[in-house]
């Protein structure tokens, strides 16, 4: 199972896929926490749809890992050690109660990075990834537009503006971990799995998010001035928030002891 042996045993394709899948899965878990609690009925529905999309993307990437590298869902999601997950710590952080600003800022920062990442995977030398990118991109644009619609309207003035600023201040250092590289980076680039290095993606991301947020009168910390979080996620270091979340979502799986996790697929899955 991924992580049983030293990480360097992973192929570049596997490493890239795990990172993709883990990001989407954990982000989706945090989104679902808003169900029934969202500010309005309509916003509840919109965020639920985004959560479903993200779980769907995670599933799409986990499926690919299963098909190509011979794993089972149980090994990839339910029985994998928490420290073997490779998602950015941005997506695992708990959302403070009532902090809708946190969610839209987190979503925005993530969605821009995701678009850049997927663009760089669209021409992957590894066909199974390239084939799937358009489907995922098709849904991600709504996510970004959704986050921006909220940011446009919350940053007017007063309390909501302050909350967005506070969220940016808190989340920004973690957002940088989206681009933290791993020992696999050279191989990923050499093999052409991804066509642009993380450092380039980071640079484009900074240009875009800083420009947009500053246009809304939100100050963005300078990367050089931000302290790198202890837990980066990409190397298996995670926060206590993740440990708690992991325990919660795997508890029932272990309690029930089913032979294998249930699947519900249509003909065109």
């Amino acid at each position: 199972m991924p992580g049983d042996s030293p990480d360097s045993d992973l192929s570049p394709e596997e490493a890239q896929l795990l990172r993709l899948a883990d990001d989407e899965f954990v982000l989706a878990e945090r989104y679902t926490e808003w169900q029934i609690y969202a500010p309005t009925v309509e916003s509840d529905l919109a965020l639920a749809n985004i959560a479903q999309d993200e779980f769907g993307h995670a599933r799409l990437w986990y499926d690919l890992i299963q098909e190509e590298f011979g794993y089972e869902e149980s090994e990839l999601v339910w029985e994998r050690a928490p420290d073997d997950f490779r998602h950015s710590t941005l997506v695992e952080l708990e959302t403070p109660e009532g902090d809708w600003a946190d969610t839209v800022v987190r979503g925005y920062l993530y969605d821009v990075a995701e678009r850049l990442r997927l663009d760089a995977l669209a021409d992957s030398s590894y066909e199974p990834i390239a084939d799937r990118v358009p489907k995922v991109q098709g849904e991600e644009s709504y996510h970004r537009e959704h986050a921006q619609s909220w940011l446009d309207r919350l940053t007017g003035s007063g309390e909501s503006h302050d909350r967005v600023q506070a969220a940016v201040n808190r989340l920004f250092p973690y957002a940088l971990t989206l681009f933290s590289d791993t020992e696999h980076e050279a191989e990923i680039l050499d093999a052409g799995v991804r066509t642009r290095p993380l450092s380039d993606l980071r640079s484009d991301w900074l240009d875009e998010v800083v420009s947009y947020l500053e246009s809304l009168d939100i100050a963005v910390p300078h990367p050089a001035d931000t302290e790198r979080p202890d837990a980066v996620g990409r190397d298996g270091t995670h926060t206590a928030d993740w440990d708690a979340l992991h325990e919660e979502f795997t508890a029932t799986y272990h309690e029930l002891g089913f032979d294998e996790p249930a699947t519900l697929r249509g003909e065109n899955a």
Partner: protein, 312 residues
């Protein structure tokens, strides 16, 4: 229109916002639809818990989609209630968080295990679907329209619920026993879901006279038994001895109503049960925590006066 005319004309989809209906009708309809809308919201809390517990990615997806549907149904229903001109959605949501909004008994019991998922997602949802099908013939047109969409969407809820039950009852003995235990606890609540027996119901008579309600609580309860008892038994669940279920002359099943604990039910109906306080308290806290977002959106909306923005 006077109330006698309303009773005479009462029929499926007969009345719409274009009609000038007496206050009694409008208040009765508001009460009924508001209860339904509140129940979708409060039922959502349980399905939300199940989403986090779900033991596979696909189960998780189905749970989160169901949860989403519930809020979608609440949206339709609060709107349908608003059309009666008695209360706004905001008022109804405020009443809910302040403990004045009523909702289904089953949602006054917080859940804490996956074994409870089929109780809600198969049995309670199955009962709800039965009731909702009959409400397609309600006299308040916007309510009937909402039911069209609700009935269209709910099919997968009940089937998913049954699938969860099937999986549990075909797995380990420990799981089967635990599921049976949980079923024993939930069964009486499920039977009371249909509301008080015909004798005890205060509002029913009027609701039926004006066509808001087309089938009595007892009829709904009994048709539920006929459909869901065989299913429960098919999966190896034993129907608890109490409340006693008997076969009537025409071969259909019915329940001995005085075997049910109506004390607990009426306490719940007043939002006064322990679980009621927990669920409503949780609602209030969470709803208040995001009041700042709603305030912000209201400001945005009025700030752009002249051209309504598509703000949430």
């Amino acid at each position: 229109m006077d109330i006698e005319t309303v009773k005479q004309r009462a029929g499926p989809r007969e009345f719409s916002p274009a009609d000038d209906l007496p206050r009694e009708y409008r208040e009765a309809a508001t009460r009924m639809i508001q209860f339904h809308a509140n129940s979708e919201v409060m039922g959502g809390y349980l399905d939300k818990a199940f989403t986090r517990m779900a033991p596979s990615i696909d189960r998780k997806l189905a749970c989160t989609a169901k949860c989403q549907d519930e809020i979608g149904h609440a949206q339709l229903l609060y709107r349908a209630a608003e059309t009666l001109g008695v209360k706004s959605r905001e008022q109804m949501l405020t009443e809910l968080e302040e403990g004045d909004g009523k909702f289904l008994n089953c949602f006054h019991y917080p859940v804490d295990s996956w074994y409870e998922a089929p109780m809600i997602d198969f049995f309670v949802d199955g009962g709800a679907m039965r009731r909702q099908a009959t409400l397609k013939n309600t006299s308040w047109e916007p309510y009937a329209h909402a039911m069209d969409k609700v009935c269209f969407e709910e099919g997968f809820h009940v089937k998913h619920g049954e699938d969860i039950l099937r999986e549990l009852m075909r797995s380990s003995k420990a799981n089967q026993e635990r599921t049976q235990e949980v079923f024993d606890e939930w069964w009486p609540r499920i039977l009371q879901f249909f509301g008080p027996t015909n004798d005890e119901s205060r509002h029913d008579d009027f609701a039926q006279q004006v066509g808001l309600k087309t089938v009595s609580n007892d009829e709904l309860r009994n048709s539920f038994l006929n459909m869901y008892v065989p299913k429960a038994e098919k999966y190896g669940l034993e129907i608890p001895e109490y409340p006693r279920i008997f076969e009537r002359d025409d071969g259909t099943m019915a329940v001995r109503e005085d075997d049910l604990d109506w004390d607990e039910f009426w306490t719940i109906a007043k939002n006064d049960y322990e679980g009621s306080h927990e669920q409503i308290g949780s609602r209030r806290r969470r709803h208040e925590a995001v009041a700042w977002v709603r305030d912000s959106m209201d400001e945005w909306e009025t700030g752009a006066a002249g051209s309504p923005q598509a703000a949430d």
